[in-house]
């Protein structure tokens, strides 16, 4: 049996010299050698390649009169289609996209004007986007974070946030939208706030607040203190968690707490100028302590 495999290997020109020597010793090898040798001398009709190709062309020309169907090459089409799509999308973004956006990072505020000269002051860690081209016909913008608006009189002015929608004609007002926190303060004129199914009209000096999905009923505030514009934040009976969030936004630290009731209410304010003073003005009234470690603030109970 081993013999048989070796013979096959030999005919396939894969035998080593050693194997060949062993094979040559087998008694039947003479016959095999002759078979292999003479079989390869059987004559096959030689094909004259050029002549037969010519003949082939002649024969195909006759059949070609039927008209050979050349299929539409879709792969080729995809190539052009892809190129055209890329061209159109890039040019669209280059020439037709008038989305303008303003963004602030931690501990940064930005003041800018909208196309109709309305003023916006953007608080820390916030973003506003609007369509420049459509602005004249449609004054609406998207807000993520907190901003103060001084709107020029004119058509309806709308601020869209993930939580609610604020519509005005021409006033001064402040919109604050943080995680689970939505607040609108009216400094001048009349502001209408749409929150889910409720539509509230806020007159001067009133505040609309939604915390964790429930509408807060405390609804007046001091117009004189549009606090963050004067580089401080003020709170009136606000859960500690939102106060701490605001400290994070203003100073760019992350805050960790240990065994602290985050729902405890805080009234007061903190300055944006100095993190230590700010932390003190929040922690001392609540009898808490804090520690700053690099980019992290740890707040814990005073007694511990």
């Amino acid at each position: 049996m081993e013999d048989k495999n070796n013979i096959l290997k030999w005919l396939n020109r894969e035998t080593s010299d050693e194997e060949l020597a062993r094979l040559q010793e087998s008694k039947d090898f003479k016959t095999l050698e002759k078979i292999a040798h003479y079989a390869s001398q059987i004559e096959t009709p030689k094909v004259n390649v050029d002549k037969s190709l010519e003949d082939f062309k002649l024969r195909t020309q006759k059949t070609a009169k039927k008209g050979r169907v050349i299929p539409f090459n879709f792969k080729q089409l995809y190539k052009y289609a892809a190129a055209i799509i890329v061209l159109f999308t890039t040019s669209y973004f280059l020439f037709f996209n008038n989305e303008t956006s303003f963004k602030t990072k931690f501990a940064q505020t930005k003041t800018f004007q909208l196309p109709d000269n309305s003023e916006v002051v953007l608080n820390a860690n916030s973003e506003i986007t609007f369509d420049k081209k459509e602005w004249e016909s449609n004054r609406h913008l998207t807000l993520n974070g907190e901003a103060f608006f001084k709107v020029q009189k004119g058509k309806k002015f709308t601020v869209l946030t993930d939580i609610g929608e604020v519509t005005v004609l021409g006033t001064k007002f402040n919109v604050k939208e943080r995680v689970n926190y939505f607040e609108v303060k009216t400094y001048e004129g009349l502001v209408s706030v749409a929150y889910k199914d409720t539509l509230v009209k806020l007159s001067k000096g009133t505040i609309f607040k939604v915390v964790n999905g429930t509408i807060d009923t405390v609804n007046t505030f001091n117009i004189k203190e549009n606090s963050w514009l004067q580089k401080e934040s003020n709170f009136k009976s606000i859960a500690l968690r939102f106060v701490l969030k605001e400290i994070e936004n203003q100073f760019g630290y992350t805050i960790e707490t240990k065994d602290i009731d985050l729902d405890i209410l805080y009234s007061g304010g903190f300055t944006h100028a100095d993190v230590n003073i700010a932390l003190q003005s929040v922690t001392i009234p609540l009898q808490l302590s804090y520690k700053i470690e690099g980019e992290k603030i740890i707040i814990f109970n005073y007694d511990n």
């Binding site: 013979i7 002759k34 094909v47 059949t63």
Partner: protein, 169 residues
């Protein structure tokens, strides 16, 4: 898009020139008929040309042999195949010129020729593709769309038959 297309005349001509001889040989191993083998190969190439859009260039070779096989099955009546040796083919032992040796070899050649004609088609095409065209089993397997094991099997059963016929058992 570097794929060669058989519809492109340059590639087709290249494909034709490379394979026409082995295609004709293959037809010959099957039919043993000198007069029809080239025709059969030509016809197979025409089929490929007509269907050039449907055939992948890399698959064309095995497609060619499949077509020849099918044409053969459809057209050629099974007949006794006849092979001839090339004139002036050298003997195995070229130095030995003794009349007895020459006679012995001639006798052997006749026996071999007849034994090959008696092989089954499958055995014969594999055996002769290996012997005459010098193709390796793997190439043959690829052309005929068989496994290499199947080719080896045909090869060894061909050898077995040839040996037993020649040894007169």
């Amino acid at each position: 898009m570097t794929n060669k297309s058989l519809c492109d005349e340059i590639y087709f001509n290249e494909f034709y020139s490379t394979h026409i001889q082995s295609a004709s040989n293959f037809a010959y191993y099957k039919s043993g008929d000198k007069n029809t083998s080239l025709d059969l190969a030509q016809e197979a190439f025409i089929k490929i040309w007509e269907n050039c859009t449907k055939i992948d260039f890399s698959k064309a070779k095995s497609y060619l042999f499949t077509v020849i096989n099918n044409l053969f099955l459809n057209k050629i009546k099974h007949q006794k195949v006849v092979f001839e040796y090339a004139k002036s083919s050298p003997y195995l032992d070229v130095d030995n010129q003794s009349p007895e040796y020459l006679l012995e070899e001639e006798e052997f050649k006749v026996k071999l020729k007849n034994a090959i004609a008696d092989l089954t088609e499958g055995e014969r095409e594999v055996f002769l593709m290996n012997r005459i065209d010098g193709k390796k089993y793997r190439e043959i397997a690829e052309m005929l769309e068989l496994s290499q094991k199947a080719v080896e099997k045909r090869m060894s059963s061909a050898l077995k038959k040839l040996r037993s016929k020649i040894n007169g058992i």
